[in-house]
């Protein structure tokens, strides 16, 4: 016996199906609580609803040299300490003292230097799938949606994080990944745009104070203090 299904019933049941689906998020819903890594910057962590996802691909579109890795210092150094941090096709020779200064255990660092972008993608996928890595840092400017999807699946299935660094001109295409960020410097402060995030709205112009290199402030302030204290010193003598 066939029960006729009215069109209204059908749409309702479909709506119910979508409501239950874990991968469909509606803007009216509250952000789903999932495991997150804090970045250590309050404003940014709030905008990201508690940090970046513990697995999946995070794209960072930025110039090289504006502290784009240092932004993820806490993620790189504090979690899953016994697993590897793999740098694939870094823009230049990675420096051990800088890594030590960041707080990364050098024993857990591998640098992979593939000859082509294709090999780099292969290496990244292998690393993500190997269950040996905490985080894969990949520099690639020729990513397409299909490759990004592959990495996202490999990363999320193996509970691994992939930080994908691209040049700022690469932002155009939208990828099926966990988080899409773009960074730039304005007035000596780091500006973060969240282009796309799961379970949340895009947020633009998050300005965060950022210092990723030593500076001369210590010397300058010491000299200023010295100037102030000079007369008193003389008076003592």
């Amino acid at each position: 016996m066939n029960i006729p299904i009215s069109p209204i019933n059908e749409t309702r049941s479909k709506a119910a199906l979508f409501d239950k689906h874990p991968h469909i998020w509606r803007a009216r819903e509250k952000p789903i609580s999932e495991n997150k890594f804090l970045l250590g910057t309050r404003v940014l962590d709030e905008a990201l609803h508690g940090g970046i996802a513990t697995s999946g691909v995070v794209r960072i579109a930025s110039l090289t040299g504006i502290g784009e890795i240092t932004l993820f210092k806490q993620v790189l150094t504090t979690h899953r300490a016994h697993k590897l941090r793999v740098f694939i096709k870094p823009p230049a020779q990675l420096q051990a003292p800088w890594l030590s200064g960041l707080g990364v255990d050098l024993e857990q660092v591998i640098v992979v230097l593939p000859k082509t972008d294709q090999e780099a993608l292969w290496a990244a996928e292998q690393c993500l799938k190997s269950a040996a890595c905490h985080c894969v840092l990949l520099w690639n400017n020729t990513m397409n949606a299909k490759a990004a999807r592959r990495l996202q699946v490999a990363a999320s299935h193996n509970d691994t994080l992939c930080l994908l660094f691209t040049s700022p001109h690469q932002q155009g295409a939208s990828f099926p990944i966990a988080l899409d960020l773009s960074l730039h410097i304005r007035d000596a402060q780091l500006v973060v745009n969240i282009i796309k995030q799961r379970h949340g709205w895009p947020v633009s112009n998050i300005v965060i104070p950022h210092s990723w290199t030593p500076n001369n402030h210590a010397i300058q302030s010491a000299m200023q203090n010295n100037k102030k204290t000079e007369p008193t010193l003389h008076s003592v003598i």
Partner: protein, 466 residues
């Protein structure tokens, strides 16, 4: 004494079938002996077509035009036999390799360990069966007698002396190892069966026949026991496989490589060993053999693990000419360490890490995967080394950049200095002694660079802070 004798009458066919050649019901296959111009082995399909052993090639081809012909090679058969002996060695201690196609195993000293002949026999048979070998067999008090019975296709195992004597006496003289002249002489006096010969008193025979004949006869009777060289397994693993067709594409080598790796896995598993380095050699008709060394980041035995590495390794390999054979050598073995650390999860990641590094190196080349380490130099160029030769005092600096360029580049951007200067003087003893004043400079886009001013006051950029 009790010896078992296994006469493997179609080793070449068995090896061919095991290597994934034609299965029995597919096409007729024969093994052809060039020197004798005769078919020496034929599979059941070929026999169905009317081919018999001993026929010439022309006759065989006339009977069955689509017959598949394999060349007979004594050395290849011997190698297959040696491999079989390696498999049997963990089960039986005294093994004699007899000619190129037979194996004799002493049973009486093993009986007490296995608890009787039946149990021992089934262990041996199941091993031979899993090796996929066809054979005729027999047991007797000595190798000579057992050989005669096996060649007579007795296919019975017994330790009953009377029944062995009965079986022996029925054998015909042609099947013994006596030379044809002796057999002809004996036939003239009406001696055609072994039973008749054994009844003759030895001292009478001794007057008419050579010492070799007498020695053979006493051995057949079980009165003397000739000395045999017992099989000793080799220290290293070496196995060659002749390809069933000439291979031009490396991908087509993979099935052969896989079968070699399976034998290696058996070998290692039986000895509780692992290996971290194996060498493949691809043989050609003209060219020198091509060596492919495969190193694992950690020792392992499983065929699956090695195959994954080799697939990556040969992906980019080009063969100079079609390959005809491939061999696998493994010389370094490592024992399996049972240190019981398996309970801790980080142990698994160590294994996974090593597997990962092995995979990356196999595909991308050895130089592609590096571990940055702090180096023994105070200059930025020498502060990071990728291979540590020895443990040296390591230098580090707060102002080291994240990335260092291969060569300094002239600074041609407008920049603002935000840190510095730091003066570094390179080692006076090195040829490129120099003095540099380092600064951290920021471009208009906010990119922070490591820049320096050299002794000639020109500005260079050398690194970047990420």
């Amino acid at each position: 004494m009790l010896w078992a004798y296994f006469y493997c009458y179609q080793l070449t066919l068995d090896a061919y079938k095991k290597d994934g050649g034609a299965t029995d019901w597919e096409i007729p296959v024969v093994v052809y002996h060039e020197q004798g111009n005769q078919v020496v082995q034929a599979n059941s399909q070929a026999i169905k077509e009317g081919i018999e052993c001993g026929q010439g090639l022309a006759q065989a081809a006339a009977l069955c035009p689509h017959v598949h012909i394999l060349g007979f090679n004594r050395d290849t058969e011997k190698e297959t036999l040696l491999f079989l002996a390696h498999r049997l060695y963990p089960l039986a201690s005294d093994i004699v390799i007899d000619a190129h196609n037979a194996i004799a195993i002493r049973l009486d000293n093993l009986l007490q360990y296995y608890g009787g002949l039946n149990a021992l026999w089934h262990v041996l048979i199941s091993e031979l069966h899993s090796a996929g070998i066809h054979y005729y067999f027999a047991t007797a008090w000595g190798v000579e007698a057992a050989r005669l019975l096996a060649h007579n296709k007795t296919n019975r195992y017994t330790d009953n002396k009377e029944s062995i004597i009965l079986l022996l006496s029925r054998c015909r003289l042609e099947q013994t190892s006596l030379d044809s002249k002796t057999i002809a002489t004996l036939a003239k006096v009406g001696v055609r069966q072994v039973g008749q010969l054994l009844k003759l008193p030895v001292h009478e025979l001794g007057q008419r026949f050579s010492n070799d004949t007498i020695r053979y006869l006493t051995a057949l009777r079980g009165e003397t026991f000739p000395k045999y060289v017992l099989f000793r397994p080799s220290e290293k693993f070496q196995r060659t496989k002749t390809l069933s067709f000439e291979v031009e594409n490396t991908q087509h080598l993979l099935p052969s490589i896989k079968s070699l790796l399976v034998t290696l896995e058996h070998y290692l598993r039986a000895r509780n060993l692992l290996t971290s380095s194996i060498i493949f050699r691809v043989h050609f008709r003209e060219e020198e053999p091509l060596s492919i060394e495969v190193n694992g980041a950690m020792p392992f035995a499983a065929q699956k693990d090695w195959l994954a590495l080799i697939e990556l390794k040969i992906e980019t390999l080009l063969l100079p000419e079609p390959a005809i054979a491939i061999s696998l050598t493994c010389q370094q073995f490592e024992p399996i360490e049972n240190d019981g650390n398996d309970f801790f999860s980080h142990r698994f990641t160590t294994v996974a890490q090593k597997q990962l590094i092995g995979r990356l190196k196999a595909k991308l080349g050895d130089a592609s995967t590096l571990h940055p380490k702090a180096g023994n130099s105070h200059t930025f160029e020498g502060m990071t080394v990728n291979q540590v030769v020895e443990t040296t005092p390591a230098y580090t600096a707060d102002i080291a950049p994240a990335f260092l360029f291969q060569h300094p580049m002239p600074l041609n951007l407008a920049t603002r200095i935000c840190f510095g200067p730091i003066r570094l003087q390179t080692q006076w003893w090195s040829s490129a002694a120099s003095q540099k004043d380092y600064f951290i400079a920021e471009t208009s886009h906010g990119v922070r660079l490591l820049v320096f001013k050299d002794a000639k006051a020109s500005w260079w950029t050398q690194g970047v802070y990420s």
